[in-house]
Each structure stands twice: as C-alpha cells, then as structure tokens.
Subunit: 275 residues, 2 copies
C-alpha cells in the first residue's frame, strides 16, 4: 500500500511519524474518513468541507487547497489500484519542540479497510448501551476516542454493539455514528446539538425530508425508549437498525428504517454512477 | 539523543511510530513524566507506580516489570549523559489492525527538556482563567490534552498563564498541575476528586501536614476567590504562586506558599542526596 505523508507518496512501511508529534504526545489531531465505491470517492466535497472545518476549529492549517487535496486523493487511489476502500485523512498537531505548543501539522492520507455491518446486524439490528458522556469539542472530528475505546470491554461484557452517549438526560450520538428514532407517528427525530454532524446524517435528512417529517432537536433518554424504531447512520455503516437500547427492546418491524436505507442507497448509487 | 522504543535504544531521528498506532488514530495512550536531578530520577518509584496504574486503568499492558523499567531508564540517562533533564514514558494503544481495537502497546521512553517557571512567574505569581471542563477519566494520566492545547489562544488573548478547570461550580485542576489555596486561617485546601493525583501533590501533602492543617476536599469557585494565597504544583514547576484568578487579584504576600516551597525543595534535595 502507498500512503501520502505531507508532500510525498511512501510505501506503507515508511508511513511513520516522529514520537514528538502532538498526536502521540497530547492526543491532538483531526481527521475525516470517506468511502471509495467503484473508484469514486463518495461525497468527497462534503468530507473535505468538514475536514477543513475541523482543522480550522482546532487551529490547524491544511497546507493544500481542497482542489489540490482532491488530486492527491485521486492519485493515491490510482497508485493503490483500490476501487473499493475507505480513505482516512489525518492532520496532527505536528512536531512540537516543547511537546505542547502547536507546530506545523503533519498530514497523512491512507487507505483503511471498510468494516461494514454484518448481515446479522443489518437484518436484526444492533444493541446499544446508554452511557453518560459528552465528547469535548464535539463539532470537530478530532482523534479523541479515548472514552469510546476505553468502553470496549464494557460493551463486550454486556453483549452490546456500541454505546449511545447522553448527558443530563439528553441523548447526543454514538462514538462513530449519529442516532435517530422513528416515533409511533412515523416522525424521524435526531439530536441537533453536542454532536458531530455526520455527512451521512445530512444526506439522510436531505433524502428523507420529502417523504417524512424529520426533526433535528433535543432528544431525551426517556423519549428514545418509547420509539417505534431506532437506527444509526455513518459513512462506513450507512444505516443500521437498533433493536435494543439497554433493557428496552424494539419491535422487529424495521419498515421505516428500511425505507430510509433504500433512499440513502439510491442516493449513493446515483452519486457514484454520475461521477 | 538516544530514545528507547519497545525493546531497543535508537537514535532520535529513528524514534518513529507507524501511523496505524492508536495514539495517532484515536488519541489513545498514557504517559508519565519525571525529573532527573544530578543523574537521580526524582521520586521514580512514585512515578512508575502511577504509570502502571494509568496503564491498567486504560487496559494497556506494560511489557516490563518496574525493576526492568528502572534499569532501562538508568541506561537511557547514561547513554545520553544527561544529569539534569525530564524523562517521558509513553505507552500507546499499539498498531491496531482495524484502527479501533487495542493491540500490543508501543512503549517510548525519551528525554524531554524541562521548562521550569520563569523568575517572574516564580516571584510574582501566575494568572489563571477558570474554564468549565472536566477531563475524561481524570485519575489516569492519559495523553488527552485536546482541550488544554485548544485553549492556548484563549489563554494568550487574556494575557494569562494557564486555565483552572471547574465543573458545576467545583474546581478540579489545571491541565498540567494541581491546585491549592491557603485560607485566611492558614489552612491549605486542595480538591480531592475528578483530578489526576500528582506525585508533587502527594509529596506536598506529606511534607506540609506536620506544619499546617491541610484538607483534601471539594473546593468551590466562590471559595477560591476568597483565599489568602493560591498556588499550583507539578513535577516540572514544583510549586508556583498564583497572583490572579480571572478578575480576582490576591495579595503579594506569598509567605505560606514560600514556606511550602522551601519544605518541598528540601524534600527533593534530600531525596537526590541520599540516592
């Protein structure tokens, strides 16, 4: 595999950063992640827009314009002959002389395998555990997944698939996906604040708002347990039904979820075909 | 400079980690930092105890025993001919195949320059800004300094030296130091919960409790503004007086702070001399 670092393409074994980088010293960096389908980077503009937004929020400068980055990404996909893959762009705090002040950021663009949901997860839905936590600086896609990874044993012990964060009774998001419920009136609701605004989330809102009433607003822990259906969205997973949250089990009827998924899939397919 | 990585001593330019490491991918790792004075690693046992505690809390395994690590540290100090320096031990989440699950941790031990307080800071005290934030998993010394580094421009704009975190009206700590006040009754008070328990903090408590009444307990934002003196403690800074918090300016009388500092310095000197 070929990786792009700062200003050159290097073989994977040379995709290295010095230990003085602020990602290693202080967990400081941002990233974005998108899918490549039939050699087409899906929703690339939206991912780049968010990547630059995250960088700006975190006081990090991207050394390239978006157009330059698009060319680098195309070249990377071609060099790796990778028609279907994930791509991760990472921007770190750089090689800080004192291990604390921000320095010239390091940019890394590398292919990452996609880990789509299993057939069982997709058919039967996943189990979430609510967990009290609020991601710091949630609007930026930072590399801070300390809590998410720390919680892995807790998730396994409870035979769950992921956690759903909440704070003071209000639901926000899962560590790597956005959260939605469908009410008994077939209204779709998703939290509006203290979240990372996923690209798939905004596409989902865009594509369903003609067929459904969809609300972005505060969503309480009590309200989600009275939902008819629930699902999560992300770049990797696109959309997966949720069949259980804590002790609360939802009905096996995923009809609205399936309908939303079909619309989203259609949007993605037409994006890839017309590219 | 020579650096120790995993199982070998390498020249500084080869102190590299692959970009798949979970520190770079997910900001996941722990560390500890201690001073070397006259070739003696100061309070090394306490720092190693905390390092192993942090690692265990974060589900990371240290591949060496504490005695083995002490030998590696001695060899590193000798190879670098460094009588007076800082040493940082970092343990990351490792080269995760899927970029999310913990893997065999990477261990890095490297010298880092000490940045002691300036003469002015030490004589006249520093200015802190209160900021509402609670570090996640505060009892472990993780590499998560996302908020602290993000706040640097805010600190500079306000001509301050650091922030003091608080949540729901209760003070916790500064990003890299513990916080203390001295009341008008000459009682020393320091927060007891939601903090990283600094080695210098515990030495300070140990060395002053014979001369002063010292309380570890919840400390409110209101209470600190009525203090007679305030100071912070850390491995690097040992102890610095605080002359201002937000708009509240303390008296120039640092007599208790100076007395505590003298006791701490004496403890450190006798530790170094008897080693």
């Amino acid at each position: 595999m070929t990786v792009f670092i700062n200003n050159e393409f290097v073989p994977e074994e040379k995709a290295l950063l010095h230990v003085s980088d602020l990602a290693i010293q202080r967990g400081y960096g941002v990233f974005d992640f998108f899918k490549v389908v039939n050699s087409v980077p899906v929703f690339l503009q939206e991912h780049l827009d968010r990547f630059y937004f995250s960088a700006e929020q975190m006081h990090l400068n991207v050394a390239y314009s978006k157009d330059e980055l698009k060319k680098i990404i195309s070249a990377l996909i071609e060099k790796n002959n990778a028609a279907n893959t994930g791509v991760r762009i990472t921007l770190t705090g750089g090689y800080s002389p004192d291990g604390y002040q921000l320095f010239k950021p390091n940019l890394v663009i590398a292919l990452r395998p996609l880990t789509p949901p299993t057939e069982d997860q997709f058919q039967n839905g996943i189990k979430l555990l609510t967990y009290q936590h609020q991601r710091q600086l949630p609007q930026a896609k930072t590399i801070d997944y300390l809590m998410a990874i720390w919680l892995q044993p807790f998730i396994k012990e409870n035979a769950a698939d992921d956690v759903l964060y909440h704070q003071n009774g209000w639901v926000s998001e899962c560590p790597r996906s956005n959260f939605f419920i469908v009410t008994h009136e077939n209204k779709i609701i998703t939290p509006s604040k203290n979240i990372l605004k996923g690209v798939m989330r905004s596409k989902l809102i865009e594509v369903t708002k003609t067929s459904f009433e969809i609300e972005e607003r505060a969503l309480s822990v009590d309200e989600i347990k009275n939902a008819k259906e629930a699902f999560i969205s992300s770049t990797t997973k696109m959309l997966i039904p949720v069949h259980q949250i804590d002790e609360c089990i939802f009905s096996k009827d995923h009809s609205i979820t399936t309908q939303v998924f079909q619309s989203l899939l259609q949007l993605q397919n037409s994006y890839v075909q017309s590219a």
